[in-house]
Each structure stands twice: as structure tokens, then as C-alpha cells.
Symmetry: C3
Amino acid sequence: MSTTPSASSNVYAATELPELGFRNYWYPVLAAWRLRQRPKAVKLLGEEVVLYRDGGKIYALKDQCAHRGARLSRGKCLYPGSGTLSCPYHGWTYSGETGQVVAKLMEGPDAILPAEARVTTYPVQEHNGVLWVFVGDMNAAPLEEDLPECLAKPDEWHTIGTWRTYRCNWRVLNDNLCYDLHAPFVHRNSPELFFQPVFPFASHVTTTKLENANGLGYVAKDGVTEASYPGLGLFPPPRETFFRRLRPMGRGQEMDREKAQAVKRYGIKYRHMSCLPAVTLVGRPTGEYFMVRWVTPIDAETTLFYSINAFRRRGWLATQLDRIGWAFWMSWSHDWIFSDQDKNIVEGVRSNAEQLSPTDLGVAAWRKFAVENARRSPTEAPTEDDRPAPVCADDAGIGSAAE
Amino acid sequence: MSTTPSASSNVYAATELPELGFRNYWYPVLAAWRLRQRPKAVKLLGEEVVLYRDGGKIYALKDQCAHRGARLSRGKCLYPGSGTLSCPYHGWTYSGETGQVVAKLMEGPDAILPAEARVTTYPVQEHNGVLWVFVGDMNAAPLEEDLPECLAKPDEWHTIGTWRTYRCNWRVLNDNLCYDLHAPFVHRNSPELFFQPVFPFASHVTTTKLENANGLGYVAKDGVTEASYPGLGLFPPPRETFFRRLRPMGRGQEMDREKAQAVKRYGIKYRHMSCLPAVTLVGRPTGEYFMVRWVTPIDAETTLFYSINAFRRRGWLATQLDRIGWAFWMSWSHDWIFSDQDKNIVEGVRSNAEQLSPTDLGVAAWRKFAVENARRSPTEAPTEDDRPAPVCADDAGIGSAAE
Amino acid sequence: MSTTPSASSNVYAATELPELGFRNYWYPVLAAWRLRQRPKAVKLLGEEVVLYRDGGKIYALKDQCAHRGARLSRGKCLYPGSGTLSCPYHGWTYSGETGQVVAKLMEGPDAILPAEARVTTYPVQEHNGVLWVFVGDMNAAPLEEDLPECLAKPDEWHTIGTWRTYRCNWRVLNDNLCYDLHAPFVHRNSPELFFQPVFPFASHVTTTKLENANGLGYVAKDGVTEASYPGLGLFPPPRETFFRRLRPMGRGQEMDREKAQAVKRYGIKYRHMSCLPAVTLVGRPTGEYFMVRWVTPIDAETTLFYSINAFRRRGWLATQLDRIGWAFWMSWSHDWIFSDQDKNIVEGVRSNAEQLSPTDLGVAAWRKFAVENARRSPTEAPTEDDRPAPVCADDAGIGSAAE
């Protein structure tokens, strides 16, 4: 199956990104409250990992005993407080800190514990009510380095996370999040936007590197909310517009890049950003809310979609109202209905062939940015491919209407 | 896995026929009433196709958007009457006639619509209450050319169709239909034949090319309905014969090739015929009924068995009686029970090895006829293999009792 | 995936044993009462076999008709008493003795029955209420040769068999049975042993060839039932020991190799033995009970675990008590709970890497014994590998605490 980047060798095909995700990043894997007394098996980037808590700490080890290959996730913390996990089969007992075997219970205290009797450890952290695991070959970056500010500063933001498993490769789901103008089409009748005009489309999208060099910000200009197509008629069709009486609000409201509170008060330059490894932020003009969509590859056909709603702390009462608003409205309208409109589509996508188009400028820009800027261990070869120009504008080589 | 045509290089092994079916033919894929407002995904010969109706016409396109690979079958006809289908993802809108993109809704009316922004179209037709799709590389033949007369002339025949999915390769199911003398054995206790003698077996089968050169007619002579096997006893065993008091009738009645009404009045020469691409006709001595069994390959392991009962129109009342007879008797006794006796067997068949035998003269003849006569696009190489003699008689090289 | 025998080339990796099991042995496949009037399909060592009873005998044939590949297991014994099975498709009728076609029912009594019209036969026997099938290329050994005495002599022993299907390769399950000291760990809280001390661990295991040269006997010395691990604490942890007030009994009782009745009265030298092809015996000091665990490979990922409880006949009343004891206690505590503790672990094992350790002396010894002593047909090459020393002691090269 050959993959055909449509217009220009300046564009990366979906399949040129690593199938199992970018290594050497932190990924959310499990709601913290779901890890209790018993160890838990998770899988990310194709690797099987056991998580466990002991003595107030959390540990992550490769979920395969070095001895005879049993799953450590079926074992127990036999010695609470020691930070160890014992294999269910012959009691090889691993230090969660080092991955080293510290006892082979069935061999007695005098057993030889050779250096190779160990399993891989994974850096793991609890943060924002989520367990984050670092997968890669390098030393783990500090978690905060991989987090957007709204997640990195829990004293300024409070969060509510949800998750869902998608039956598709992570790249298909992540492409969906790169401001590719599917939203005015796919979500036009979503309850959240039902009485508002559709999102603007046919916009001119540009992308700019974020100051922290970890991602891209999207800006869309000159969009319309209605257009007439020769031989077809209006989009949206009139039968879908007569009831759209509200003005844009909430999610539907664009950010005025001069006057919006987000910009003036908080210095947030973009309403929509994509960051490495596969994270999307969608904000509001108030600068007081972000929806963070973290795409965690499980294996080549399965992806964990970890969605975190981040609200700026504005006092106790506001926090309660945020939570009530989420529970009675957003959890349903957005985290469920809106997202399922995408899920239904992306789970059917086949990426063996594609023809990128001007609506995909964001996708092309993100792919290029990601491939060229992702962390790499020093042993990894540099990108074999050094594609010249940035894809942040019409020079992307994607066939465009402007010419 | 080597395949061993048993006796002679003059015989084609099952696996020498194309695994996904003969291309460049029409195949039935869906009862017409099942395609309503929403597009419908079907698969045939390994190809995924979306069917939709608009403005009184039916269209068939490859079920994968050229843009980012979403399934068109999850899209909608947003502009009724225009004959277009819009992709659910970014609204690329395809002409059902040409497969060409006529609008990219999210890019505005000025979007460039390059020639390569298109998907394959499939010829599709509604006929006899069934949707027929042509798969191949050549221009579609007229549908009538691929239909037996009883389906081609709806003013002379009325039809009732049913379908069933089989978990086997199409070749295994089609072999089952080539007058291979399994019927006297497999179906001997089927309700349709319960009180009649079993079908004749140990017959001498000959095959003759049909006048339209599209298939073979089978003639069986000298069959018996009982025989005694040394060391075993009678077939059928006596415990299965004492209640067989009726004379052959309906399906059980052979056609007298001199006197039968089918021959004299209607000029139907054969009661049992196999036609390309994988169609079987079983008639009656009256010449007023045909059971048409159309084998549509879905993929290498799955097959659609489309069964059409065709009744000659003999006035309004006769038509009503045909329909009542079908509803209360044939639908149950034949389309269900009788066919399931085969389904149970063919779904377990493994074709990696076979030893054809005189009962398989029909199978061998059909395979040879089909391989050598199937439509081929000019670009396709001719059969690499030109096996000499016809398989219409004992010269088939299949070990026979006559020598 | 490379397999790494941990310490020495003297040790065979799991994957060096044949993936589908040792051929040329008898294996239990089905409880005899489950084969009634209808033929039954079973699979062992990757081969599909149909079993049927006729005229008081049992037959086993390859479950694929030589003619067109239908499953004989969907056929019938049409001629009771003749020992034949008829294919469901065209009635090819096979002698259960020879596998030869004795009639092609649909071709009449004069059909040619060539020598190649046959299927493989498998030696099959009913014994101890179980059907045993011999798979291989050699002439079948007498069944008794492959059976331990407690199964070979039904007049001295009575038996109760149960079975379970495991989703793992047979090697993983068989390793579990080779006195590898998992039991003191995995089963320590099993109901059977709940109030007794755990089995001794950290023992010094030696293995000795059995007199009949068909397997190994295990002897463990110097085990302890409690030990203290630096930095961790006691094993078993005190919270698991305060209620262990009983003395070792039943299964928990070691065999005194000088005084035990098993030794003195019955000449049984080992309480735990492994035999070819993949059979484990665990006895009692009384010498009046054996649990026989027979591991029958089904395919590469599935294994039949056939478990036979053998009780020495000690009069009518004792037999009844044995049966009652089994029904109300052992069936639950052992054949179900105890075995499921293992099943839960072995079904998760991946054998692509392992580090054998002194607890695995039994495993290593058995692997070596099995590879070097398994029956081989004369046409099979000898083991490519002739690893020098026996693995019956510390010279196994498995890193040991004693050095």
C-alpha cells in the first residue's frame, strides 16, 4: 500500500509518522482513582506496563517477569511499604525504583540476584488526577515540560478528565484534531452548536510555532458560515439553518486576537494549538477554559483518547459552577455527543491513500512540525528526510484556491 | 498448500480459479428495498462499495474518500436530486455519475477540484428487486447479457429473492451447485423430498455448452434411486426408504427431454445449468419455474448466496398462488432447510487437497469452461494454461467406473 | 524473538521443544462418555481428527474427506456394524480400520476405489474412561507403554478424570508441573492447604531417571516453610501465617523416603514425577493416590489439560469413599480452585525470554530429558544438539546460591 502525499514532497503522509507514536514523551494512561490496591496492566506505544501503588508512591514496570515470563500485573505488593511488587508465579520481587529483583522468594534469602534479573522501569507520575507514563530510551523529561500550562499549574487550574478507547491508529485520531476544518461540517448539528451558526469554514489557516517551541498555534481568517455551491446550493442547506437564531457563544465563539480577555489578560495567543507528542488544546476567548485532548497510542490499531477539561480557578464558587456545568452539560454535549461524531468517522478511516487539500494545512503543518521537532534519543538517526519549506501557509504546496 | 487435481492435468483444481471471483461481471449485492435514504456499504470481490439512491437513481462508488480516507457510506446525500454523496468528514461531494468531486464544502465554492479528486464508480442497476453491481476493469456489459432469460425478462417472469452469507470461499459454494450428485445424498431427507424416492445417483453426467456460450447444461442418464454395496448394504438404507411412497414430483421430477413442456413449449433444453460468472439455474419439467443461485464473492472467506425464485407469469391468479406457495412452503422447505443442509457442509470444506471423481464431472467441466471462457479485459494475459480436451464426458480423465 | 536460556548452553529454552508437542505418543483427548452416536471432532498436535464409535469399537480418522475436503465429523455411520463412516457430502464411505474408501455411495457399487482414496487413520483406544489417540509417524506403541502404572492397571486402580482447555502453548503449562517450586507461592492460600504450613521452598531439588527410562523423579531436600528476607520481612508474611495451625497432611505431607508406605509397601520411589510426552504424577506418602496431569497440545496457542485422579483399589467401601471424597472435596478444592490459580498465571506467560534459576532445575532437567529421550521415527534426524551434562543437580549451570 503506497501512501501518496498529494501535492508536494513537502508534505508528510500520515504513514511517515511513527506507527506506535513518538517515544520519549509523557502520556496519560489511567485515571488515578482507578489504580487502587491491585496492580493494573496498561499498554501504551505497544509496550505492556504494570502500574502499582505502594507506600504512597506509584511505580511502573514492564509487565513481564524476567524469570519465566508471567505477568507482574497478576502479582501483589506482598511487602507493603517496601515499594516492591512480587511476581505471582515464583515470587521474584522487584524494586519499583530500579526494576531490580531484590528477592526470589522461592529460593530463600541466599539466592543469587544477578544484575540481569531486572525489568524495565517506566517513569510514572500522578498529576491532575491522571497517571502519566514516560516511554522512551532517553532520561525522562520533567513532566511539566510536556504539559501545557493549564495542566502544569494545578493551583491556577482545576481539571476534569474523561477517556475513551478508539479503534484506529493514533495518527488518524490526531489528524482529526489539527484544525482541519472538519468541525463546521461534522459537528454542525451537535447540541452544543445547534442554534448557532456553523463554525466558519473556507478559512485561510496559518500556523505559527509556539514560543515554547513545543507545538503550533492555529489562526484562521476570512471564514464564512454560509456559501453557495454551483449545481448544489447552499451550505449549510437551508433546512439546517432556519433555526440557527443564536449568536456564536461558548465553543462557537471565535477569539478576537486584539480584544479577547484571553489575549489581553492572560497572554494566550491562540485558541487552538497542537503540541508534541499528540496533544491538542482548544480554548475560549475568556482564557478561562481549555479542553486538552491527549492522544495516547495503545497499539497500531487502538488509541486512548484522554480528554481533560481545564478550568481556571476563579474562586470556590466558580469552581463549583464549573463542575456543575460540566456534569450537566459539557460531559454530555461535548465529551460524549460531540466526540462521538468524530469517533464514528475516524474509526472507519483508511490512511493508505490521501489527497491533502487546503483544509489540511493544519494537518500538514503539524505532521511536519512533529516529525522534525520530536524528541529523539542521541542514538536515533536524524530524520532521513529534510523537507525544505515550512507548511505554515500557501507555500505548503497543497493545491490551493488562491492560485 | 499444494492442490492436487486428482487424475489428469486436464482438470483444474479449485484453487486455479480466481480467489475473489471472476471480474468484469454483474453480481447481485443487495435487495433493492434495503437501500433507502441512507447510503449502504457492501463488499464484493474484495472491493468496498457504497450504494446510494438519489433523485430516483442508484449510484455506486468506492467506499473510501479520496481526501483523507473516510468511509463515504457514513455520509449523506446533502443535496437531494443532485446525484451527489457528501463525505461525512470534510464534505467532499462526489458526483455519483462520474465519481468526480464537484465540491469541497469546507473549502468554499472557489476550491480547486483537480481531476484526481475522484473515486472509482461502479456500474449499478436495480432489476428484479435486486441491486446489481459490475466489478471489473472493462466497460460494463449490459446487465441483460449477464442474466439468464428468466431474470432478463420481468414481463414474462416474476421473482422472489432471498440471500444468505456463507463463511467459505465462493469456489466451495459454487462447486456445490455444479450437478455433482451431492443432492441425492445430502438432501435425501429434506422435507421437500421426504416421501419421494431419492434423486437418481450413479448417473452418467454429460455437459454441453449453452447456445449463448455463457455456460453449460447438464444431462444425467442412467441414474438409480437404490443400489446395494457389498459389505455395507443398500443405499438408501432400508430404514430410510419404507416411507418413500410418493412418486417423484416438483423438484424431484426429472425432465423428459423429449416430452417435457419445458422442452416442447419453451425450448428449454436443460433442467440444470451453470453460467458465468457463478450462477446456477435449476428448473422444472414444466418450464415455468427456475431457481437461480447467484454466488457473489465478498472476500476470500465470505460469500453472498443470492437465491432468486423465478416464476413464469401465467396470469394474475397464478402469480398470487406462486407467491403463496413460496411463502408457505418453498421459503421454508427449500430456501431455508434444503440450503442449510449444504451450508453446514460447505462451511467446513477445506480445498487444499481434492480427488475429483466421476461424480465431479460437472464440477470439472464447469471449472474448465469458466477459466477458459470468462471475460477478460484486453490487458489481462490469456490463461497461461491451455488444457486440451473438453471435460464433457469420460474423456475428462477423472477416474471412471467405465474403464 | 530470541530465547535466552539464562546461564548455560546446557539448558534448553522452552522454545527448543516442539511447538505442537512430541509426536509418536498417546494422548488423552475426550472423556469416553462424550462420544456417543454422532462422530466427534477433536484436535491434537495441530491435527484435526474425527472420532466415532461403531459396533462396539472406536475409530479415529483425519477429519477431511479425500474427495472434496468436507469434514467427516459432520457425517454419519450409515451402516452400523460395518465400522465405516460416510462423508456427509457425497457419501464416500471410509473403513475405520484402514482409512480406505470402501464405497462411493453416489457413484454406485461399480465405482473405482483407488488406493489413494483414503485418509490417515489414528490409533485410538478407550481406557480409564478416556479416549486416547496416538499421533505420529511410527507404528503406535502399546498404550500401556505410555501409561504410568496407576493408569495402566485398572484392576488395581480406579480413576476419575476431568479436563480443561488452557489458552497457552503446552510448554508453558507443562513447565508449570515440573516441580519448579511455584506451588509454595501460588497455592499457599488454596483451600486445600489453608490451615497447613506452606509447602517447603528454597529446597535443593534433584532429578533422577525413572527405571522405565520414561521420565524423571524429583526429590527435594532441605526446604523451609518460612524465611526472612532482608528489607522485606518474612515469607509467608505474618498476616498469612497466624492461622496455619494444622500439621502438613494430604497433599501437604512430604514423603519420607525411608518409612513411607508408598516406598516400603509399593516401591514407589518418588512422590512427583514427569514422564514423556508431557505427563506429571503427584502422589501421596500412602502410595494409594496419584494425580495424573496429562498435557495434550491442541494447537500452538491452545492446550487440553487432562487431569486424572487415580485411587488404589482397597475394597468396595474404600472406592465409594474415594469417590465421595472427590465429589465433595477434591473436585472443588483441587481440580477447580487449585488448578485455576495456575491457569490464571500460565495463560498470561510469554516465553520469548526467560532467566532460569535454581528453582527451575526441575524444568531444565525435564526439558533436557524430554528433548533427548523422546521417541523419534527413524526418518527424523537426531537432536541437532547434544548438550553434554545432565541437569540433575548444581552442575546444571543455572546460577545457584551454593557457589
